[in-house]
């Protein structure tokens, strides 16, 4: 298969398969969790659970308030990588084209220079986090094979995207095809790994915030 056919495959059947597995998998995973239900709390609340729950969905991104923990390197690097990833995914011009073709609407793009800086930040922070994981007692202990697979699946779109845009190692067609393929692998792996957290974290944070909030505790 030559470069052009490979690019065509990843843009065509490859994308269809990946989107199908991703959408199907995420929905099954989400529903099998959601439908387990939750007992109603009969104790008299001290505070408003709903407001606290919604608040916590956002404030938990900065968990080290009130001296609860030492944010440090991991928190900073995680922020850096997540922000880079999300901003690049949503605001790089070709990505907006991709999303527009599915959603039916687009939005303004951010300058390419900013995207380049973010990509470099993202790549460096991801590598740093990986190295840190190897050398940290708890993270090394907790880390399973699937964690490293998830890291690789997340890292490759970032790396291949950067390469496709800046110095196509294998020619533009192949570089673009590899980037799209790496994205397809990423989304296919979401329902099978901890990458699901991008959908379930909102539920978990809400439940947590609401539970504390009912007791009048804001964390």
């Amino acid at each position: 298969m030559n470069d052009a056919d490979f690019l065509l495959w990843v843009r065509g059947p490859g994308m269809i398969i990946a989107v199908a597995v991703f959408v199907f998998g995420v929905l099954v995973r989400f529903l099998e969790m959601w439908l387990l239900g939750k007992n109603v709390d009969l104790a008299e609340p001290k505070g408003a659970a709903f407001g606290a729950g919604v608040r916590t969905m956002f404030t938990r991104s900065a968990p080290c308030g009130e001296e609860m923990c030492d944010g440090g390197f991991v928190l900073f690097s995680s922020w850096a990588f997540h922000i880079a990833f999300v901003l690049i995914f949503l605001f790089l011009a070709p990505h907006i084209l991709f999303l527009k073709s599915i959603l039916g609407f687009g939005w303004p793009a951010l300058p390419k220079a900013l995207m380049t800086i973010l990509a470099i930040i993202g790549i460096i922070s991801m590598v740093a986090l990986l190295v840190h994981r190897f050398f940290h007692a708890v993270r090394n202990f907790l880390g399973k094979t699937v964690d490293y697979v998830a890291w690789t699946a997340t890292f490759l779109p970032l790396l291949t995207g950067y390469l496709a845009a800046h110095s196509p190692l294998f020619g533009y067609s192949m570089s673009l095809a590899l980037h799209i393929l790496s994205f397809e692998i990423f989304i296919v792996l979401i329902p099978f790994t901890k990458l699901m957290h991008m959908f379930t974290v909102w539920v978990a944070r809400y439940i947590n915030g609401a539970a504390f909030g009912r007791k009048g505790v804001a964390v």
Partner: protein
């Protein structure tokens, strides 16, 4: 009647083309082929001494666009020079003879110049149902190709149809169309894709073979690197707009009228190798992007099936929304079923749960 054994130099002299003019043409030819300037003199000498090179041109499943392209000449150009330098012994559109006489001319040339003639093919070759979907004089394209290729010194597959299958090969390919390379395996082949190829590119390739008696440097898809080495994107004059993020969003918006990059309108420039951005068309007049239309990618294999011409490269080529909708439906069914099973499991567990009593804690 022209002397078939007259050299090109002699013929040109007869026509009043001076040696100086001829050398000038060869210099531009050399630069066109990215050959060193010193080659120009050598080419001029060889060309002048050459007796006319026999060329057989087979037209299969084609639209005659490739012929039309090479035949364009607004003023005395290399195209006309080439036609003077070769002996075009068989060509459906250009030859005077027809019917049995035409076929006889072909067979005679093949016999007389066996091993020395250049075979140019345009159009794809249908394979289905014994190749009945395109025949000439009752002979299938496949049979004619096999037969004619035997004595060819080299084959030039002119146009995307001959090089890759082109339009007949496009989905659903009802005739089983294939390219020259799919059939002929034992002869040197030069692919000169394009729908059609640029006139100058075709004549440049033929000229190279004529004068140097060798194939130009080819890439892995057998295309001459000198013409197909760069992508349109890398040589496009609108590239600065791409780099600055200035894109035309619709065909008549302000961006389009300001000549901004056509990437978002589906331009396949970044993945298309050809010389359109540099040599351009119709004697350097313009090329599709310059005229405001995104590149179709017509010199790449399967460009007809590469998704919508107006769908940008980052966009999926297939029906993603439909797939997603189907996946939502399927996921909802399975997910709800899984949830229901989970709940039933919990209910059963609750029913079967025995209370912990003091006996259990003794």
């Amino acid at each position: 009647m022209p002397d078939p054994f007259m050299t090109l130099g002699e013929k040109l002299a007869l026509q009043g083309v001076t040696r100086r003019t001829f050398l000038k043409y060869c210099t531009s030819l050399a630069s066109l082929m990215a050959l060193p300037p010193a080659m120009a003199a050598e080419m001029a000498e060889k060309l002048a001494k050459s007796t006319r090179q026999p060329v057989i041109w087979l037209s299969f499943q084609e639209c005659t666009g490739c012929t039309e392209s090479i035949a364009r000449s607004h003023s005395p150009t290399l195209e006309s020079l080439i036609f003077d330098a070769i002996s075009l012994d068989y060509h459906h559109t250009l030859q005077a003879a027809s019917g049995g006489a035409a076929e006889a001319a072909r067979l005679a040339s093949m016999k007389e110049h066996y091993g020395k003639y250049i075979l140019v093919v345009d159009g794809a070759i249908p394979m289905k149902d014994g190749g009945v979907y395109s025949t000439i004089a009752g002979i299938s394209n496949y049979d004619m190709l096999i037969d004619t290729a035997k004595g060819a010194a080299a084959i030039i597959a002119a146009g995307t149809c001959a090089a890759y299958g082109g339009l007949p090969h496009a989905n659903p390919n009802p005739t089983g169309a294939v390219s020259v390379s799919d059939i002929v395996k034992d002869k040197p082949i030069i692919n000169v894709p394009g729908c059609p190829p640029i006139a100058t590119v075709m004549t440049g390739v033929i000229a190279h073979v004529l004068t140097l008696g060798a194939l130009p440097e080819l890439d892995e898809q057998k295309r001459p690197k000198v013409f197909f080495g760069d992508t349109i994107h890398d040589r496009c004059y609108r590239r600065p707009f791409y780099d600055q993020g200035k894109f035309a969003k619709t065909f008549d918006d302000e961006g389009a009228r300001n000549g901004w990059c056509l990437f978002e309108l589906g331009c396949k420039g970044p993945v298309t190798r050809n010389a359109c951005a540099t040599l351009k068309w119709n004697g350097g007049a313009s090329f599709p992007i310059e005229s405001g239309h995104p590149c179709l990618g017509c010199s790449e294999p399967n460009f007809w099936d590469a998704g919508d011409f107006y769908r940008a490269l980052p966009e999926p080529a297939g029906k993603v929304l439909t797939t997603a909708a189907a996946a939502v439906a399927a996921g909802a069914v399975i997910g709800i079923a899984a949830g229901a099973i989970g709940r039933r499991k919990k209910a059963k567990a609750a029913a079967e749960r025995k209370p912990v009593t003091s006996d259990d804690l003794k």
